[in-house]
């Protein structure tokens, strides 16, 4: 049967990841078109109700491996490889995020399968799945097909939206013997929040700060501008990893997804990993000194120039305007 298997990631509190649920909804739609079944895999401590609840997003069956730990890729590769082989699934689909990349890549090697990543859409051609993947800073989109079973498809962040359709899934408990190398990585601490708690998801206006700010102190420039505009400050992964700004303010691949009325980017190059978290903003304004920065390809208003000169004057001008 031409089934599609989806990995459903969950946090320590048992909440499923939005991108996983989106992938499951997409799998359910695609499975109908190719005459197969959408199913999910969960690992670790997932309750009967939570597992069966994935049926609401389109899973007919949920394979649960209680003894495999959540959060690291290789044990989950073991679980998914077994389910794919035993049950004959034709595709594995992952929602955007870090673990999907790792598990999908591991499965590729384990099952000698083709893989496509950063996929934004999947279509059906002649009863088979074809993945659409933007390449070269989104300047082209390639259609990728698979010449063998299974095909591995790793989505881009926010490629698919969860859709509830009702129903419950049959929960199938499975025992999986982990590979010797899968138990050689051990989670010491998961999901540590670094820096203060900042709410950026409810703001209508966000000023985003990137590496172009130069140092942690220069975030004051972004904060002053955000205050003048009545908004909040967001950040890129590069500056969060550098310790310039709290993780809670991070947008993109391993951070938050936002769509404010205005996103004003200061010193942000606009790499794909950031773009996927803010590209649905209603208005995007960018100030960056590098004329080749990718953000100028998708902003609504772009200024090539030194943000350290422009932003403070902009703050003053907006303050004056507001009186």
């Amino acid at each position: 049967m031409a089934g599609i298997l989806v990995y459903a990631l969950h946090d320590d509190a048992g909440n499923f990841n939005k991108n996983s649920l989106g992938a499951l909804s997409e799998a359910a739609k695609l499975a109908e078109q190719i005459g197969g079944e959408a199913a999910a895999v969960v690992v670790g401590d997932v309750s009967d109700d939570a597992a069966a609840g994935l049926g609401a997003y389109g899973a007919k069956r949920v394979f649960r491996a209680k003894s495999a730990p959540e959060g690291l890729a290789q044990p989950i590769v073991d679980v998914m490889a077994k389910v794919i082989k035993d049950e004959g699934f034709s595709y594995a689909l992952f929602g955007g995020g870090l673990l999907g990349f790792e598990i999908g890549a591991g499965l590729t090697a384990r099952l000698n399968a083709g893989v496509t990543m950063e996929v934004t859409a999947v279509k059906v051609q002649d009863g088979k799945l074809v993945a659409e993947r933007p390449v070269l800073q989104d300047s082209a989109v390639v259609d990728v097909g698979y010449v063998s079973d299974p095909g591995i498809i790793i989505g881009r962040l926010n490629a698919w939206v969860p859709e509830e359709r009702g129903g419950t899934a049959e929960v199938v408990d499975i025992d999986v013997e982990l590979s010797p190398w899968s138990t050689k990585a051990r989670m010491v601490k998961r999901g540590e929040q670094r820096g203060g708690d900042i709410n950026i998801e409810d703001a209508d206006i966000l000023v985003g700060g990137g590496r172009g700010l130069g140092d942690a102190e220069s975030f004051k420039i972004a904060e002053d501008l955000a205050e003048a505009l009545g908004g909040a400050v967001a950040a890129t992964r590069a500056v969060v990893d550098a310790g310039w700004y709290p993780y809670a303010a991070q947008i993109g691949q391993t951070g938050k997804t936002v769509a404010p009325k205005l996103y004003l980017a200061l010193g942000i190059s606009g790499a794909i990993q950031h773009k996927v978290g803010m590209q649905n903003s209603e208005n995007i304004v960018a100030i960056n000194k590098d004329p080749n920065a990718p953000i100028f390809e998708f902003c609504d208003l772009g200024v090539v120039g030194d943000l350290h000169k422009i932003a403070p004057k902009l703050t003053e001008a907006i303050k004056a305007k507001k009186g």
Partner: protein, 263 residues
């Protein structure tokens, strides 16, 4: 301890990249450079050596690619690698992620490193995946997108950002670790190191030399096929201008925001 760094030659950032509609592959003509993310992997290897916590006997740069890829190896050696290995074979051309990972694993098997380091993504698009593909072929643990490595005898403690915040993970060696650009600030090679790079040992290996089954690599051995290349969804291009007179620039931005009722 022996460390292998996987490196890759990529089109220079300033080169306008395109896909060749005949071959459906990236046009790799024009100026090339060592993938910037790989310089962070080399720097991480150097810092492990310099930390003195474990003895690093050798740092080996490894690449797969056409003849021109030698230049990436020269740059890697200038940045600190002791020698380099170049896997090159016409049979490997057009390999997809799966086939490339398999081929790299075979060349690494011949080196038997304790640690494999690589950049988490390459400028020409293969992101996040190759390290995990190589690791599963080698049957060793792996972690990608790592931004901090603490080394001890026989194991590493790594940090990285995942879906819910920062994860700290202990990994037994041998292992494959891909690193992000936040892990370090790569040093600039000295003039002496650049001049001396071409004199360091460089082994050239064919697919057969490292036991690669050529039916599993190249365009034919790949399990994916590029079926079509399409333009991206149309988007109205934005207005981009250069800041010449900052007061005027600010007025323009404010007017633009006012027009959209954002101030």
């Amino acid at each position: 301890m022996k460390i292998c760094c996987l490196v890759k030659e990529v089109p220079d950032a300033a080169v306008q990249k395109r896909i060749d509609p005949n071959t459906m592959r990236l046009d790799r003509s024009g100026e090339k450079n060592l993938n910037p993310f790989d310089t962070h992997a080399l720097e991480a290897a150097m810092q492990i050596r310099e930390s003195g916590v474990v003895q690093v006997d050798e740092i080996v740069a490894v690449t797969m690619g056409p003849e021109s890829a030698v230049r990436a190896l020269h740059k890697a050696v200038a940045l600190g690698a002791d020698r380099s290995v170049h896997l090159t074979d016409p049979a490997l051309e057009g390999s997809d992620v799966n086939a490339t990972g398999y081929a790299l694993a075979k060349v690494l098997e011949s080196e038997q490193p304790d640690l494999v380091l690589l950049g988490q993504q390459s400028d020409d698009g293969e992101c996040y995946t190759i390290g995990a593909v190589v690791a599963d072929h080698l049957q060793v643990p792996s972690l990608t997108q790592v931004i901090k490595i603490d080394v001890a005898e026989g194991k590493l403690t790594c940090e990285r950002q995942a879906e819910y915040g920062y994860d700290t993970v202990e990994v037994e060696l041998p292992a494959v670790i891909s690193v992000g650009d936040a892990i370090n600030e790569p040093r600039y090679p000295s003039l002496k190191a650049i001049m001396g790079a071409k004199k360091k040992p460089l082994d050239t290996k064919s697919a057969a030399d490292v036991g690669i089954d050529t039916s599993e690599v190249g365009i034919e051995g790949s399990k994916t096929r590029v079926l079509a290349i399409n333009p991206p969804p149309a988007k109205e291009p934005g207005e981009v201008f250069e800041d010449e007179d900052t007061d005027e620039t600010v007025n323009k931005i404010v007017a633009w925001l006012e027009e959209r009722k954002l101030v």
